[in-house]
């Protein structure tokens, strides 16, 4: 780990995990790192640990590993199911949770899971709560030489993720994670907004009052600031957020 951090210091080097986001960016000439520093040889980064009221997933765990982990499946089934719905089999076998979180793609699934579950991002030097971590499209508080080592997810009493996938890329057009811990409900949305993952307070309140799909079915989110592309314009995206929130809540029932 020290070697990796040293290699990242003061230059154009970049970490590479699964390469599923970094390599496409490099192919398009949008990034041209001087060196690639692989975390593949750093021990202990691909473990999944059951901590009782939390599950800690090592940064180098692939999406397939998370999806297939008995710990995740039994403790936070919504997280396993979410990981199983990322991209396609090749992507799931190569892409990692650390890479996904660090990249903070506005259409990625993990940000919704992290924010809804109230996860903590653990790095080589500090712990950052999800609420402070996802700072808008591709923006995080990570330093250039900072390495994510794990993500710690508190266990929810109930949670579910519903995703409307882009038919071409399979990234989220609208992905909504609904999670309840104690009396608190969090609703986190990814894929839809140009600012990345966001929470919907009105839905959270409605679900706290009465936890069922119908509670959120009538709650519209504004299409202002929503992404718009060939698969989904802003209005359609905003509509899908409500439909996905309803489906996620129903799946929790």
């Amino acid at each position: 780990m020290d070697e990796a951090v040293a290699a990242l210091r003061g230059g154009g080097a970049k970490l590479i995990a699964g390469g599923q986001s970094l390599l496409p960016v490099m192919k398009l000439n949008l990034a041209a790192p001087s060196d690639l520093v692989s975390l593949a040889g750093v021990p202990g980064l691909a473990d999944i640990a059951d901590g009782g009221d939390s599950v800690t997933v090592g940064a180098m765990c692939t999406h397939a590993q998370v999806a297939g982990s008995t710990i995740v499946q039994t403790r936070i089934p919504a997280l396993a199911a979410m990981a199983d719905g990322i991209g396609d089999a090749q992507v799931r076998n190569a892409g990692t949770i650390g890479g996904s979180v660090a990249h903070n793609d506005p259409a990625a699934d993990y940000p919704a899971a992290c924010v809804a579950l109230g996860a903590t991002i653990v790095t080589d030097r500090r712990e950052i709560h999800s609420d402070d971590f996802f700072q808008g499209m591709f923006m995080t508080p990570l330093e250039d030489d900072e390495v994510i080592t794990a993500v710690r997810f508190p266990v929810a009493s109930r949670a579910a993720y519903a995703k409307f996938a882009n038919p071409a890329s399979k990234y989220a057009v609208a992905g909504v994670m609904v999670a309840q811990r104690g009396d608190t409900v969090r609703v986190a949305v990814t894929g839809a907004s140009g600012d990345g993952v966001f929470r919907v307070a009105a839905m959270e309140e409605a679900l706290e009052a009465c936890f069922c799909g119908e509670s959120v079915a009538g709650i519209a989110v504004s299409s202002d600031g929503m992404l718009s592309d060939t698969a989904a314009g802003a209005e359609y995206r905003a509509h899908l957020v409500t439909v996905m929130a309803k489906r996620a809540a129903e799946a929790c029932e």
């Binding site: 192919k27 038919p167 071409a168 060939t230 698969a231 359609y236 509509h239 899908l240 439909v243």
Partner: protein, 785 residues
């Protein structure tokens, strides 16, 4: 025909799959020549711009770079030609602007070739291309038909006012107008046929070599028709005689029409190899394939159907605008005309049909044939319109079709074609039965109980395949013949090599053609090999497209085999001391009729090559070539039924069932035919539900990668229910018709008719392809106000 385990009608496993499935295929990119260099094509990032000096010094000085060439360097070389001259209504020839292999003075689409960098490695060539500085002045672009025809639109070519290439027509306008005057009902429709990007799994590639010792050029290229490339590249672009230009199209990983045209890159590579005296290799990256492989479709049409009080079709009037892209690709001009307008009788007896097509230049990738080429566009329009007519007249969708079917053959349509044979009722009945059409309402109710909207759609269609005969297409403007060649070489010990002018890039010719030959000659299937793709080995042939290979190429082989048998009879008669007239040939044996005196093909072959005891005056050897120019197109036909379930909350369309009942003529290999149908159906479903090429107004390609261009995947498709009813083609000896394009022609309107059927209860009566979830959701929103 023996019909044995490997003969005609048997599902023989494909010969070619051994190498394809074990990684032993040899594709163009697998070809490496000693001393080869790598070329990278720098493409225009602007859709329309004047270009001044292209500064290449920095690139030339970059590591590993051997040369950089631009349009200016190739200025004396001929342009890329087009293969079909269309005449407008007024008799004037189409506007046919020059197409320099590399842009001179102007770039006209994002992807237009600007320069080639040649270096030791592909990476060096690509890196150096970043150092090329192109002086350019951006011009306003026209990226759609609407933009191209707008008043005062920027011109793609100064010589094409209004950006019009031609304004063509077919059919009897006066008779059609009269039909509308006498009609009880007129039903009209506006449809868009969405632009598609072909996406063959193997990107285009080429490697060119010049041998100064022989003066011979060799080009390995991803082509569906190596001789066509040789003709165009040799005679029109580089001015090379045929005997000094060899074109090899080795294993090719799919074409779908996009590997028919002769491309600028082929000319650039071959010319560059000549300049440098070293082999130069180029492999297109996927991202460049999106913006340089020819695209398909892209029509806007308005049409109306005249009917009598009972629903009998009286007349059809079609006005279409077609997008040809920035330059005229090889068959671009005939796709929206002679492969489109003449299809509008469909399977119906409509007595008067008129179709006019105006084609436009735009600042987009050139458009050319794509699986079905013109026929999917025609079928989609017609079958949407027929459904609409049924709805507006309150008639049953099936009944209105049946009521108008052609039943007497041969049938002369009002738009040039003459159908030789078919049985449209039979395929319709088969499809209704196989799809349980009658039980649909029960399934609709079951879906409704789950909150889903279920719909069923149908299309009944004909195709015209194996475009021919040469004299007719020549009179219509084709600049090539449309015959095919086949050679059959029986070797001295009785094994057989078959040489075909067609090209196999997924169709399984090596198997199908071997089945025909082994069946006819009574030799082992394994003793027959099919050779294709190398202009130095095969006779001059036109290649593979338009579902022509079996009907035209297979027939040429059939005729060559017949010649072999005729000659064999002469040799056998000599060996058996009988007269030629008394010799019969069956199952590999020549027999004196009515006796048990016989000899085998093997003995006859050996005698032909060791002619010690041989008929006087007969040439030694046992090898025959036949060229076959068909008398007519072939007319596959069928019915497709699609069933969908729509999620009203998201607009998602799930395709739950697809049933095909097809008449493709005699089936040589049912497994291969099923594969062709499956692939075509997937393609057609892709067009109906997913695929859409989108350009921004400034001519930037918005759907330029798999991030947002949706190809159908296995999980998007139901298990296909495929059925056959066969009538034989009357004018080729095998009775075959063609199958490669059936799915992409027949299924899109069935799918869209099903989507509309599902949405009608909500008040939605129209849908544009592709019926993406957003489009369906928006249609529902609009209908519900």
């Amino acid at each position: 025909m023996s019909g044995n385990g490997t003969g005609i009608g048997a599902s023989v496993k494909r010969k070619e799959d051994t190498r394809f499935l074990t990684g032993r295929g040899r594709y163009t990119d697998d070809v490496n020549l000693p001393g080869q260099l790598y070329g990278y094509i720098l493409r225009s990032g602007m859709a329309h711009a004047k270009i001044g000096t292209v500064h290449t010094d920095a690139a030339k000085a970059a590591p590993g770079v051997h040369a950089v060439f631009t349009g200016k360097d190739m200025e004396g070389v001929g342009g890329i030609p087009t293969g079909w001259l269309i005449h407008s209504k007024d008799g004037s020839p189409m506007v046919e602007p020059g197409h320099p292999a590399m842009a001179i003075g102007k770039v006209r689409y994002v992807g237009d070739c600007v320069a080639i960098v040649v270096a030791e490695t592909a990476e060096q060539a690509k890196a150096a291309s970043n150092l090329i500085d192109v002086e350019r002045e951006e011009l306003p672009a026209v990226a759609s038909i609407e933009a191209a025809e707008a008043d005062g639109a920027p011109l793609v070519f100064d010589e094409a006012p209004g950006n019009v290439c031609y304004d063509w027509e077919v059919g009897d306008k006066a008779a059609t107008d009269a039909a509308f005057e006498n009609a009880d009902h007129v039903v009209s429709i506006d449809v868009v046929n969405n632009r598609l990007i072909p996406n063959a799994i193997e990107p285009r590639a080429a490697i060119a070599n010049y041998d100064p010792a022989t003066g011979e050029y060799t080009l390995y290229t991803t082509s569906q028709n190596p001789h066509l490339v040789r003709l165009l590249l040799g005679a029109f672009v580089l001015g090379l005689p045929e005997h000094k230009l060899r074109i090899v199209a080795p294993d090719v990983g799919g074409g779908f029409g996009s590997k028919i045209p002769h491309y600028a890159e082929e000319a650039i590579l071959t010319w560059t190899a000549g300049q440098l005296g070293r082999p130069v290799k180029w492999t297109c990256e996927r991202i460049d394939a999106f913006k340089s492989d020819t695209h398909g479709r892209d029509h806007i049409s308005t049409a109306k159907l005249a009917l009598d009080a009972d629903g009998k079709f009286l007349g059809l009037h079609v006005s279409t605008k077609a997008n040809l892209g920035a330059y005229l690709s090889t068959f671009a001009t005939c796709v929206p005309t002679y492969l489109y307008g003449i299809l509008f009788a469909g399977p119906y007896t409509t007595p008067a049909v008129y179709c006019e097509v105006k084609s436009f230049f735009t600042n987009t990738v050139p458009v050319d044939a794509l699986r079905g080429a013109g026929r999917p566009e025609a079928t989609y329009l017609l079958e949407r319109l027929v459904d609409k007519a049924a709805h507006e007249l309150g008639l049953d969708r099936v009944a209105i079709r049946r009521q108008n079917f052609v039943r007497e053959f041969p049938y002369q349509t009002p738009v040039a074609l003459q159908y030789d044979m078919g049985d449209y009722d039979a395929t319709l009945d088969l499809a209704l039965d196989a799809s349980d059409w009658a039980g649909f309402e029960g399934r609709r109710a079951e879906s409704a109980a789950r909150g889903k909207l279920r719909g069923i759609g149908i299309s009944t269609f004909i195709e015209a395949c194996g475009i021919a005969p040469s004299a007719v297409v020549g009179s219509l403007g084709a600049r090539a013949g449309l015959y095919e060649s086949g050679s059959v070489r029986v070797h001295p010990t009785g094994s057989v090599s078959v040489f075909t002018g067609t090209h196999s890039h997924g169709q399984g010719h090596e198997t199908t053609f071997a089945q025909i030959v082994s069946d006819m000659l009574g030799v082992d299937f394994d003793a027959v090999d099919v050779v294709h793709g190398d202009s130095a080995k095969i006779p001059f042939g036109m290649g593979t497209y338009g579902s022509r290979s079996l009907a035209v190429g297979g027939t040429a082989i059939y005729l060559a085999v017949e010649k072999v048998i005729e000659k064999g009879k002469k040799i056998a008669a000599h060996l058996l001391e009988a007269s030629v007239e008394d010799i019969e040939f069956e199952n590999g044996s020549f027999t004196v009729a009515g006796t048990d005196r016989s000899t085998t093909l093997g003995e006859v072959a050996l005698t032909a090559y060791v002619p010690h005891n041989y008929p006087e005056g007969l040439e030694p050897g046992l090898e025959e070539t036949a060229f076959y120019d068909p008398l007519n197109f072939t007319f596959p036909a069928g019915t497709h039924v699609a069933e969908v379930e729509v999620d009203p909350d998201t607009g998602e369309v799930e395709l739950v069932a697809v049933t095909g009942a097809d008449d493709v003529g005699r089936v040589i290999n049912p497994m291969i035919v099923a594969g062709q149908l499956h692939g075509g159906l997937a393609h057609g479903i892709g067009q109906a539900l997913m695929e859409e090429c989108v350009y921004q107004d400034d001519g930037q390609l918005e759907t330029g990668s798999y991030m947002n261009y949706t190809m159908p995947r296995a999980a998007d498709l139901p298990s296909f229910n495929i059925n056959h009813n066969t009538t034989l083609c009357t004018h080729n000896p095998l009775g075959v018709k063609g199958v490669g394009e059936v799915g992409s022609i027949g299924v899109p309107p069935a799918v869209i008719n099903a989507v509309i059927d599902a949405l009608r209860p909500l008040g939605v009566h129209d849908m544009t392809m592709p019926a993406t979830s957003q489009r369906v959701w928006q249609a529902i929103q609009q209908a519900q106000g």
